[in-house]
């Protein structure tokens, strides 16, 4: 685990998961590896937060699950975005961009 990893900011986990699943469907740990990759190790999502979040988002209708085979040839549960999930990703992305833009501007002055 890299020493410069940060604790997750409130509200960012859902957005990161949606983003990670934007291109392809992934299984649970695949999602956490993709987030690690996307943020270059800045955010580490622990399984203890990841799986509850995946199940919550599945219940909300953002994610759809199906069974597939993992890279180690084991039966694994894969998650993919639903239509509402994609809409949610767009909404959340827009919101986050406004927040980070405003923060960057505030800190630049």
């Amino acid at each position: 685990m890299p020493s410069d990893s940060m604790p997750l900011l409130q509200g960012t986990l859902d957005l990161l998961i949606l983003r990670a699943l934007n291109l392809e469907s992934l299984h649970g740990l695949g999602v956490s590896r993709r987030i690690d990759q996307m943020t270059e190790g800045a955010f580490v999502v622990k399984p203890g937060s990841l799986f509850p979040a995946l199940h919550r988002m599945e219940q909300s209708g953002w994610l759809r699950a199906h069974w597939g085979e993992s890279e180690t040839n084991r039966k694994a549960k894969f998650y993919a975005l639903t239509r509402t999930g994609r809409a949610q990703l767009e909404r959340e992305t827009g919101r986050w961009q406004r927040i980070s833009g405003a923060m960057a501007q505030a800190l630049a002055q």
Partner: protein, 866 residues
Amino acid sequence: MKKRRELRDELNAFDPKELGIAGDRERIEERVTDVWRGASLRTLLQDFRHAARLLRRTPGVTVVVVLSLALGIGANAAIFSLLDAVLLRTLPVPQPQQLSLLCASDGLHPDLNLFSYPVVQQFEQRAAGVPLGAYNSTTPVPMDNGTGPTAPVDLELVSGGYFPTLELTPQRGRWINDDDNRAMGVSQVAVISDAFWHRQFGGAADVLGQTVSLRGHPLAIVGIAPPGCSGLDPAQPAEVWAPLMLQAELKVHGNLSNDNGDESKPWPGQEQMMWLSVVARVPDGQTPARLAAALTPILHASLLRLQASPTMHVVARAGDRGSDGLRRQYASPLIALFILVGLLLAIAVANVAMLLLARMVTRRREIAIRLALGISRGRLVAQLVVEGLLLALLSGAAAALAAYWGSRLLPHLAASASGAAPFTASLDARVWLLLAGLSLGIGLIVGLLPVRQARRLDLTHCLKADDRTAFGGARAQGRWLVAAQVALALVLVAGAGLFSRNLASMFHNDLGFDRIHTLTVRLSVADSALTPDQWTALEPRLQQQVASVPGVLDAALAGSGIEAGSTSTSGISLYGHVDPPGGLESEEVQVSGGYFRTVGMRLLRGRDFDAADAPHTTQVVVVNRAFARRFYAGANPIGHTFGYDAKSAGDFHIVGIVADARFQDPHLAPNPIFYRLLSQSSNAPGVVEVRAAGDPAPLLNAVQAAIRGVDSRLRVRDARTVEWYVDRFLVRDQLVAKLSAGFGLLALALACLGLYGVITYSVNSRAIEFGLRMALGSARAGVLRLVLGEAALTVGIGLVLGLPLTLLAANAARPLLGGLNAASWLAVPSTILTAAAVLLALTLLAALRPALRATRVDPARSLRAD
């Protein structure tokens, strides 16, 4: 648990190390489960909120649904509580099914007879291994608490075996035992009930050893019965128990059949005094019938000693629920009421189903849209069921209130001017269970009913502009529901009419005597205070004094009160006839001159007693019509003679015939009676009958004062109007009449509401058709005829279905309609037809409003609307 297995599979896909250190896995599983739980709870709450919103949006429908279900369910629970209290509840003793009640019966008459104490003692010896206990009927006895007399307490005298037979343990102290019953009047002890302990002594711990003073005899309290124990007759709970041997001291009278015994001497020693009931605990494996057969020879031997014919034998009846006097009297009326109230609930449920179906139609759009948006049918069903359950919850709560008030009101309805109700109804666990079960069941039914509709829902059809036919089936269904409702309502409305008319005819039936203007004063004379000679001297003065009270027209003396009928039955032998086997029996009443005039009994033939009939002239009797019919086969009996036995068959000369008087229960047919003069018999009068010019009630005090003024040794036991006694026998009919009238009105209201709803819905959904018809030139009157015609057809089908049902019900209720059947054979059919006419008229009136609205449909608007 499929979800949990899937979660395991999901996590198994990974190297345990990747999921963190050992133990983390469980934490993950736990947190995911929390997420699921939160979600399902949220959905349920959402469904409830959604349902509540929907119910609020149509407050009229909701209120009508909740009210009709609450009334239906509440009334059922209340009637059931009565049924439970009177018919079903077993005695609070261990293994009540082992208890048997022993009586003497001749196998012909329903009346059951009692035993003398000497016979009971022999029973106890013979029935080795079977515990037996004897008790008398509960009697009110005046109590003196030191500061003066208080309200009488209900006393039961018991043998030493009574409590051990019930296998109860006193909560304090001991029971009355065999030692208390060794000698007459010696052991002055009492056991008190839990209720009496709390009422009289405030539940004080040191009550044992204190005394309770009955008729001036201080009885030492030796034990307290456990809560709920009040003897064997639920209709007459006992408060105090004392040994049988105190009968003379406490002057306990109660039920008695006296075969030439001396009432003023202690009863327990006399074989002639039959006054005790017997309870036995028959161990499993033995049969009550065999016990009864084993004891019968003892009874026969006793009857032979008394020179009576041994026609009676011992019978054993189930004792698990105590004495069955109340059950026998109320079983059929209560079952009838329970059926009626069940029908009422069915009508209410049909109404609710119709309302919800109709509402479903107005919601078809909403449901179709939600289905289109991808809500699963499972979720939709769950929502509809939650809606039904919410309605059930509201109705159940309202029904609980209705049941509570109902169960408190019912005993009052059964009470009359003559005193408290013979039972109390309480809501126990079983009643609540019934209430909850009914509410839940009905909630599920009404919740699932629209589900069938939703299943059949044709999506594309629904969303199309002309969607009025998507629920075409609902209209036909509503029709049939209304027809069924009308059929059931006819049973209820006709029932109300029949029972009310029955009561009215009972009130107006000719009882054979004047019950409106007659007072009965029962005398109580100190033991042997007056000799027969003194009585003979006193009687004319007594009669005169009472007759001279202002407002009194006539007074007469009699051995027994007219309200009680006769208290003695005698074997008789007709002159010139051979006695049939078993002999003839007739009731006997001794009266003074002027008796028939006083009580308003009509003389049909011959003559009344007159002044020439003196103590030593020819013994004359007047017989009633039943006597003449039974013994002389309708031939004129005047001039014939009879006597108590073949030797004396020439003693009594019949001089007149009077009309039959149905003294006691007006439901019963008259018995043969002969009347003798008090002056020609050795008996003393027991009552003074008084005929008032107007309302007799205000004369009660003046008459009592006049009696006391004649001789200080005369006391009045009680004085009441005869109406009071007649009332008491009609309590049952009153209860049934009042309740069935209430149910009938409710049924009528619900049926009208049902038809109104269905016609309204039908008119709304056919607005286009009506618009078209009128646009094409149909007259408004034509549309009105069309709508009303359909309503009449629906009601007509209901009535046709209901008529045979009602006739069946009326036939089943025949035993309860005695007065009506006696009045006229036409009474029942005419009442049913009237009920049908009323139902038809009122339901059509209910349909008139929506029908008139149909005629006001604006063709232009209805054709354009979506």
